[in-house]
Symmetry: C2
Subunit: 724 residues, 2 copies
């Protein structure tokens, strides 16, 4: 499947439609860029009015070129583009790069034309990059199919961006730094070829050893997660996602809505598929420098060699803040360092080679450090002091780097011309060099994090052989009233149908019925208002615990109903629910799901109790979640020690808890019509084991009437749905 | 008091002791630096062997110069320094800069010499910078009294550093950037003149409008906090503190020890005295760039002008992450922008002036933005696109900046020579320019935060007229057993003596006594093991709540004592304590204090309960804390909404709670012999109001025998102690 973008990335014959004699015109720039880039294939400028463009023979239309182009780069105004696409379709041209703007981004009319173009392309097996993009560059093939004036050298990092302006900036930056790329791709509107398609293609591209991504939105989550997981299983992906706070969560009805906002779902999705997310755009650039050097560290133990104590401590601070590790130097290494360093050296990591360190001392210290198997990489820091040989030390580091495959990073602090020259020398020699310690440490840690290997695969239907009662579940869901909120009772029965242990609870329409139920359960009981319209029952005085006698049941029934009527006169009230009281004292959790607009159904586990939203102690994953992943989610909570058992107190029944989460995920996966569902609380450590105490679910009645394709509401492709 | 450093910063006659003919020698460099810096005063090279140094007449000793030097810069080996200091003392030279290393940092012998030097200086009214430092620079006076080869231009930012290497780096960096300083001070060992002394001096220095500090440790906390508060009341201080994780907390006995680690005390101390802390050294440099520009924004509403959407969103992300604000543009501003921008502009902030923006469009947009009273500063972003005039746009921004006093910051993304030239032009014209949006936003937010004005002053003895029973308190503290841990009962009585409401509780040595107490209090009661050796009572099964009858009391007494004996056979057991049971359900807090080695007694308020340490929801302040500050601490907790009252649930009695904290602070302030004290929990919202349930205190028996000076254990100077 992944050769289909060859037409874009490996063309032999390239037509430039809209090639112009006017130097400021896009079409002119593209022709010039192809020729000045020394593209070894054929360039066909297309222009009906001119015989040549910049001396190169031009042709009146794509149909009249000497041979059929593989790739057409379209630079003419939007209104003529569809016509050209149709011509290309007839000819058999498979690749199109549409640089022209004026489509989807301008409104419904532009969108309609864009859709027609894509339809034509799909019907003819063509692939389109753009429209409204900067184009692409493949330095290794001398292909500058963009209107960016310059092209960096060949390298092994792919740069993929949803912003043309950012791409242009990155190109200039990389040239200044001497950094190379395997591919540079500006996605524009991504009408056809999107981030997923490019990642999928580049996963198999031998020239590409890593990808850095600037993303603004994800169009097709299943395609993205599949491609990213496939790519990240082999090589690093580092991504910056813009718009963290832009899509502010709408006023949320449930805790899940409030706690699992759009940005945290991006975190979860990237983590799930092995994409390392950076939160500062500068970190993306700093990572490129280290990736470009092509050396790999998979563990975070760093040796720091410095000619000043302060910056050594700063680097250690930055490292530990990122959960990296100061490498434990072996005795052999300490001995070796004692041989080559003056007696006053620090005798530990950071290795302070002292303020008067000549270049040779740096070299000797680095060689000793890289020989230590506890050291995954070396950070070399220089601050200019009176005796410091700024350039000579850079050269010495470069020499030392030649003796090892481990990453060597430089920090030449202090700026100024000589420092800049040293940094340029180091960069050019494959020793990425930075101005500040934290930049080097962050790049190191980001790239260690990005080497993950294959990710665990998770199935909707776990191996325990449990089969839910799907018929009953469907009936319960179908019973949803018009407002779309399932009753508490129906919700609990739904959980029961999926094998989730729930606190029994029955509806009592009258005080007499409530007393009868309480007598049946035994005292004490919990009484709650039953109304499809009241979500937060405690807010209307609708929950009373520890009701100890028939008399009290009557009194509470009257009080609860009266209070709800007074506070929510609009609400329909069915009576109360009665349930046996579960002893207090265990840790409460919230288990929730909602459908995220970008990544589909998500599963959230959070610390519960009245302070749940306030403390915001939550873990989010894309569905499906199995019991192993459920355990990882629980472990990532701050309250994990309580669940595990803390200071001699018993913990939760983790087997039962992870089973509940797994089955909850299964319920969510098998029912796209459930848009939001929550168990709040799950009592994680009652004497009766983990148990769901209260439930609520929101059902999309339209989806109920017209069921979506199985699993289409998930952000991860999971194969076939089971037969009921 | 603040003129006493004039001898260092404003000398007329400078002797260089150890001036040398050898160019690589410190003494030679210093003479050369003074002369090449065009120092307008007199330089006396001191060298017994040479008639001149670099053509300048030399003198055999400081005693033989034509006039008495104000300042002697000492570069001779450590062993001769004391002798020179004594000569200077005799002459009446008041200022000494000792560049020489080889003192305190080398061990006890070096420390002894250093101490002698300081003693001599103090006895003679002299001030010493160093030893083991780079020296100082005052560019405005053409005074380069350091061995750094170069000196930046004159400016209004003071740079104060505990690392000579970092100072050397900063000097090179500033020269490269064209940034000026009022003073550059390398503190070295800070044997006499420390950070506090320099801040105190510069607080009154009209040339200094702000200070940036690189700190490794604080030697005299009261001096530091006084000087920093005095400085920050007038002008910004921004500081980087190295060694966040170095001084790792020792295995902590109390929650306070575990939760209020050394680094969080630095946070608290800096915040208390108005010092803005940055956690990345690069942020210190980025802040210098903005401070150097000399424009002030006190509020965080930023207008963003950009020629590309992506970087605008990135900047907004960075701003909101730092709790800044995208300025709300007024209708008038929107109208003005509509006049000068093409129709497709973003029509909101960020102001996207579009990818084809010529220089004039930037200028017009900035002028419209700064005219809006909702806009505190403007961030201008340029990414190089095909039509972009990189330098012309920089010039246009510079022109626009001339029309306003508001800070204008530039971000020229993408690197490369032309971008670098643009950044240099902007920097030179007082528009600090950065490569990445987050750097500009962080600098902006740091400096907004650093304009605080006078800080609230806090007294140990609050205005409510309450006087503790000091006699009783002293007796209780003196009753501490040899192990230094006050019994729970004594601890509670101590709180009672300071007017803190406590849960009554009495010791019962036998089961019969326990029953008698329970009968007296009424059931249910709480029974706890009583042992001076057992800190965490629940860990040994030593706490039982809800004991409902005499029979149960007997059974619990036996069980609790047996369990404690089994789990802690080493512990002395006095019996149990009995107290009436306080109804559950309220929010628990921990109120604690410990003596921090850097900043003295601290007060901590934290969310309590069994999950206290796990959640780490705490606020820390230096003592003293009054009720206003106590309220601020409570408001900074994540659980504040619970204390305030949340979703219709009643909150805590805040008056009573803040009074408890205030009186707890008073207890701590008046008793330096208490090294650690904790109320855990304070029940914040019981029906009986806020109440202390359990107490523990550690007393330093040596301090009890030899009481320290009143309030000497506080990090903030608070005046006279009250008479008991």
């Amino acid at each position: 499947m992944s050769e289909d973008l060859d037409c874009l990335f490996q063309p032999k014959r390239v037509a430039v439609v809209g090639a112009s004699t006017k130097p400021t015109n896009l079409g002119h720039m593209v022709v010039r860029n192809l020729l000045e880039g020394n593209f070894p294939g054929v360039v066909y400028p297309i222009n009906p009015k001119h015989e040549s463009i910049g001396g190169v023979p031009a042709f009146p239309s794509v149909a009249e070129t000497p041979a059929v182009p593989d790739l057409a780069i379209i630079c003419i105004p939007a209104k003529g583009v569809l016509d050209v696409v149709e011509q290309c379709a007839k000819l058999g041209t498979k690749g199109l790069i549409i640089l022209t703007a004026g489509f989807r981004e301008t409104g419904p009319e532009g969108r309609a034309v864009e859709d027609q173009i894509v339809e034509t392309a799909r019907a003819n097996g063509m692939r389109i990059l753009g429209p409204n993009c900067l184009g692409l560059q493949v330095p290794g093939l001398s292909l500058n199919a963009s209107f960016a004036a310059h092209m960096p050298g060949a390298g092994h990092v792919a740069f993929i961006s949803q912003s043309g302006a950012l791409t242009a900036g990155a190109i200039e930056w990389a040239i200044g730094k001497g950094i190379g790329f395997s591919k540079i791709v500006s996605l524009g509107n991504a009408a056809d070829v999107d981030l997923a398609a490019v990642l999928d293609y580049l996963a198999d591209d031998e020239d590409t050893h890593s990808a850095v991504v600037y993303a603004e939105s994800i169009s097709d989550p299943q395609a993205f997660t599949s491609a990213a997981a496939r790519f990240s299983a082999k090589k690093p992906i580092i991504a910056y996602k813009a718009g963290r706070f832009a899509a502010s969560a709408k006023a949320a009805v449930s805790h899940t809505g409030a706690m699992a906002g759009a940005d945290s779902v991006y975190d979860a999705a990237f983590e799930r598929v092995g994409v390392t997310r950076v939160l500062r755009i500068s970190d993306l650039y700093h990572a490129i420098e280290l990736l470009d050097a092509g050396r790999v560290a998979r563990q975070p133990s760093l040796a720091i060699v410095t000619n000043a104590g302060g910056p050594g401590v700063m680097s250690a601070d930055a490292l530990i803040a990122r959960k990296g590790k100061l490498a434990d130097l072996s005795q052999g290494t300490l001995d070796a360092l004692n041989e080559v360093l003056p007696a006053a050296w620090s005798h530990s990591n950071p290795i302070d080679v002292l303020g008067d360190a000549p270049a040779a001392r740096y070299q000797a210290a680095i060689k000793a450090a890289v020989a230590d198997s506890n050291v995954d990489a070396v950070l070399v820091i220089l601050t200019p002091q009176s005796m410091t040989d700024i350039l000579g030390s850079a050269d010495a580091v470069i020499e030392a780097a030649k003796t090892t495959d481990k990453p060597i990073l430089g920090v030449w602090m202090g700026g100024g011309d000589t420092n800049e020259e040293a940094i340029a020398r180091l960069d050019a020699a494959g020793v990425p060099a930075y101005e500040f310690p934290e930049n080097a440490v962050d790049a190191f840690m980001d790239i260690v994090a990005s080497h993950r290997g294959p990710l665990p695969s998770v199935s909707v239907t776990p191996a325990d052989g449990f089969e839910p009662d799907r018929g009953r579940a469907r009936e319960l869901i179908a019973s949803v009233p018009e407002e779309g909120v399932l009753s508490e009772l129906a919700g609990k029965e739904l959980f029961d149908a999926y094998g989730i242990s729930v606190a029994l609870s029955r509806l009592a329409a009258t005080a007499d019925e409530a007393v009868a139920l309480a007598d049946e359960f035994g005292y004490p009981v919990v009484i709650k208002i039953a109304s499809p319209d009241i979500t937060h029952k405690t807010d209307v005085g609708g929950v009373v615990i520890d009701v100890n006698s028939a008399e009290e049941v009557r009194e509470v029934f009257a009080r609860v109903v009266a209070s709800a009527r007074e506070k929510r006169p609009d609400a329909a009230i069915d009576g109360v629910t009665v349930q046996p009281m579960i002893p207090a004292g265990g840790q409460e959790l919230i288990l929730g799901s909602r459908q995220d607009p970008s990544f589909g159904a998500i599963i959230m586990v959070a610390a519960g109790g009245t302070s749940a939203e306030i403390l915001g102690d939550s873990a989010i994953q894309l569905a499906p979640v199995d019991s192993d992943m459920a355990l990882s989610m629980l472990k990532s909570l701050r309250i994990w020690p309580i669940l595990e058992g803390y200071r001699g107190r018993p913990g939760a029944d983790l087997d039962q808890l992870t089973t509940i989460i797994e089955r909850f995920s299964r319920l969510v996966c098998e029912h796209p019509e459930i848009t939001e569902i929550e168990i709040n609380p799950v009592l994680a450590s009652s004497p009766r084991g983990a148990i769901a105490i209260d439930a609520r679910a929101v059902v999309d009645r339209d989806a109920l009437a017209n069921p979506p394709a199985p699993y289409s509401h998930l952000g991860i492709a999971v194969g076939q749905a089971p037969q009921a």
